[in-house]
Symmetry: C2
Subunit: 247 residues, 2 copies
DNA sequence: CGAGCACTTGATCGCTTTCAATAGCTGTGG
DNA sequence: CCACAGCTATTGAAAGCGATCAAGTGCTCG
């Protein structure tokens, strides 16, 4: 697999997620120890990385691409409960089986560690445990933010909220200022957006069309989005346009 | 305040949440250090413990009673994003201002630490940091479980889910077996349940009446609930009655 | 050119909300 | 002791939003 080969010999110092991942606070010697037990795996878009209920032999970080955590009810209803971006961590030290499906939404490369050695490292390396705590607290905040979206926002507000999150992340990665138009590609299908937002894909499609008609967004093709006025989008999301960027 | 006096001199060894709270893994000497910086505060039902946006001077554990984390939109829509039971932790080390309102749902007693000394303790006491990581991961799981409820379940299933959670917790606290009827008092008003479930209080009331009519539950007064058949309730919640108790 | 997939759009249905009236309970004061 | 305010909860009727069912578009790939 070409992607895998691409990452096979990357060393941690040059890793694109070095400063944000679970290893962010590690000293040089700690990094070397991690380097010895890490390995890369790549997954194609659509592939299931881990099945809910299966034993988890490894933990790891998303290096590139987007993965999702999904819960499914017996009758097939599904809800996405997490969106994993580069640097996000997968797996819970100490847990035996996976509680959710983990799926590659785009092509994904992960930096993996077998669970046992990683747990041992964690016990002896406070920097890793501390960083993991920080990241988990951030994820908890994000999950709670999303509970407000799921529980109380209208379909239109839900779409605007999702677009605003993706736009903000993109602006922060690309160091684009928050003035002027923001342009990005949607990394999710309509169906994935629906699973994230607790909607049907038809409703997602309709609301995107409506936002387009009202010039809150512009579309080229199905996925390429332009946000002419970020403040406007955040109003549509029901967020306070002032406070929103502090997140 | 009498409640406060009641807890003023409690020592940690006898503390009812000793084995579950953030201090659970502490050794005797670590506990003594914590003991020196702790203090108790009590709050009456309905009181706001912390206002969203306010500086957080302390962190702490719920000793008794129930508190809730709530987010509010500008137009007044509110969503509960966390239910804090005894032993649950409030506050995030390293954070300056509170992201949510924390409200006392019943009378509440908290074991508090000023933030600064607690952060210092945490840095020097891996047992505390490790326990906090565990607890945060558990909360994250609970939040994600709730995202499925909010995003994909019907009103009836939402109510059944909430009742089943409360019933399970009660059964585990009281060491009641899971066979035979379960009896408990609802600690939440209809409005609080609605805020938790992303519903209106009218819908909550209607669905409770419906579950009563269908003998899934029995009510004495407005709050005293009997669950004759837990398996039945879990079916109504849309959960797998087999797997559900493993949580 | 046709199959397959992602997406859009239309029409209708039904669940939850909204608006509104009422009941039951508790505490207060004449 | 009763009247009444204030609160929580229930119930009814109507409206609205998103789901469901269904058809059709546009694109890519064999």
């Amino acid at each position: 697999m070409t992607l895998k080969a691409l990452y096979e010999h990357t060393n941690c110092e040059e890793c694109p997620i070095r400063h944000r991942a679970v290893c962010a606070h590690c000293e040089k010697d700690e990094l070397e120890a991690l380097e010895k037990i890490k390995y890369y795996r790549s997954f194609e878009a659509g592939q299931t990385i881990i099945w809910s209920g299966d034993p988890m032999n490894f933990v790891g970080s998303v290096v590139s691409g987007i993965a999702s955590l999904t819960q499914t009810m017996e009758d097939g209803r599904t809800q996405m409960v997490g969106l994993l971006l580069p640097s996000d961590f997968v797996g819970r030290p100490g847990r035996e089986t996976a509680p959710y499906d983990v799926q590659a939404t785009t092509d994904v490369v992960m930096c993996c560690f077998r669970k046992k050695p990683f747990e041992e490292m964690m016990a002896s390396t406070p920097h890793i445990a501390h960083r993991l705590l920080q990241m988990t607290l951030d994820e908890l905040d994000a999950a709670r933010e999303w509970m407000l979206v799921l529980g109380r926002k209208t379909a239109r507000e839900k779409i605007a909220s999702l677009l605003s999150i993706i736009a903000r992340r993109d602006a922060s990665v690309n160091k684009t200022g928050i003035t002027g138009p923001i342009v990005f590609d949607l990394p999710l299908t309509r169906e994935a957006m629906a699973d994230y937002l607790g909607l049907t894909l038809e409703t997602v499609s309709r609301q995107i069309s409506a936002l387009k008609k009202d010039t809150v967004i512009t579309l080229e093709g199905k996925r390429h989005v332009t946000i002419p006025d970020m403040g406007r989008l955040m109003e549509e999301a029901g967020d306070d346009a002032d406070g929103g960027f502090l997140v």
